[in-house]
């Protein structure tokens, strides 16, 4: 359980670091943004503004801009819609909260299920190993003894 918690923590910490690549590539950046005019991924769009954005991204990468700097510059000009992800406020916040909440609820349910299952196993009367009644076992033993004789 501790190992799982550590792995989740490591993933959470690694996410922002990954989002701030120092030397992004043109193709990676184009795949991250949405064309504000046609609302398709930038790398699939040839609209005038998409072409302008590609030229700017190319220039910025050549100037050594980090992924974060490019992102924040485009966000300032085009708003959060350019990232193609739901906003972190208002009703759109649910898109972020619900999956995390779902994972939490699922974890609780799995934990509760496991607890119920394990307590049933330890608390109930132990069944016979073979599932036979003592009378049936005696008869089977007798038959086997006959064969061995």
């Amino acid at each position: 359980m501790r190992l799982l918690a550590l792995a989740v923590l490591a993933l959470l910490l690694a996410a922002p670091a990954y989002a701030c690549t120092k030397h992004p590539t043109q193709s990676a950046m184009e795949a991250e943004f949405i064309c504000p005019e046609c609302h398709t991924p930038l790398d699939e769009s040839d609209s005038p503004i998409a072409q302008q954005m590609k030229v700017h991204i190319h220039t910025w990468i050549a100037s050594g801009w980090s992924e974060c700097r490019i992102k924040s510059t485009l966000l300032a000009q085009f708003g959060p819609a350019v990232l193609g992800v739901p906003a972190t406020h208002g009703f759109d916040l649910l898109a972020w909260v619900l999956p995390l909440g779902g994972i939490g609820v699922a974890a609780v349910l799995v934990g509760f299920g496991a607890w119920v299952w394990s307590s049933n196993r330890s608390g109930g009367p132990a069944p016979a190993a073979s599932g036979l009644t003592p009378e049936q076992e005696r008869r089977v033993d007798e038959e086997l003894a006959r064969f061995d004789a």
């Binding site: 005019e37 005038p48 503004i49 302008q52 300032a76 000009q77 085009f78 819609a81 649910l94």
Partner: protein
């Protein structure tokens, strides 16, 4: 025991539906355009945005006391290119009237591209840039669109001219601009 998860699931679904209804009811998106196009006067959203063709920011409230012609445009929009000279000419025509100002809102655009556009068409009135949030508050659905704000900071409906009423959707003409300004001046 079996009823508890069912009740929880129903509660969650009802809660989400209630949240959706609340969001739809309280969302101001599109309300300005809708109200004005229905012939109603509606308070213009308050905003502060950076200038495109000047330094610093513009606070919309600073224009209170004047009729404001608010034009939403993009440098990469073809109909905006069609109307740009008309707007430039209209702003020159109304320059003598100190009660009327023009304000451009360059939406989701690069500042360099916006500046190039303004210079190309000789537009000298103030223009601000918008990352798309103001568009949602005004209820703009395409470009260009033009609204008329009266001296009390209210968006007023333009009278019906050539099939257009409320606010101008598409390239503005001198006739439409004049009708909108006159309406805003009289309210």
């Amino acid at each position: 025991m079996r009823r508890l998860p069912q009740a929880l699931a129903v509660t969650v679904v009802v809660g989400l539906l209630a949240l959706l209804v609340w969001d739809v009811v309280h969302s101001s998106g599109g309300k300005v355009a809708k109200e004005v196009d229905s012939g109603h006067v509606y308070a213009a959203p308050a905003f502060t945005r950076p200038y495109v063709n000047r330094k610093g920011n513009l606070t919309f409230a600073s224009l209170r006391g004047k009729v404001v012609v608010v034009n939403f445009w993009q440098s990469y929009c073809a109909p905006c290119t069609q109307e740009a000279r008309t707007l430039a000419a209209a702003s020159r025509r109304w320059r003598a009237d100190k009660n009327v100002v023009f304000l451009g809102v360059d939406v989701q655009d690069f500042r360099s591209a916006g500046l190039k556009f303004l210079r190309r068409f000789g537009i000298t009135y103030p223009n601000v840039s918008d990352d798309g949030s103001l568009v949602g508050r005004f209820g703009v659905t395409g470009y260009p669109e033009t609204f008329f704000v009266d001296r009390r900071g209210r968006v007023v409906p333009m009278p019906s001219v050539g099939g257009q009423a409320g606010h101008i959707v598409g390239p503005a003409t001198q006739q439409l601009i004049a009708a909108g300004i006159k309406q805003a001046l009289t309210t």
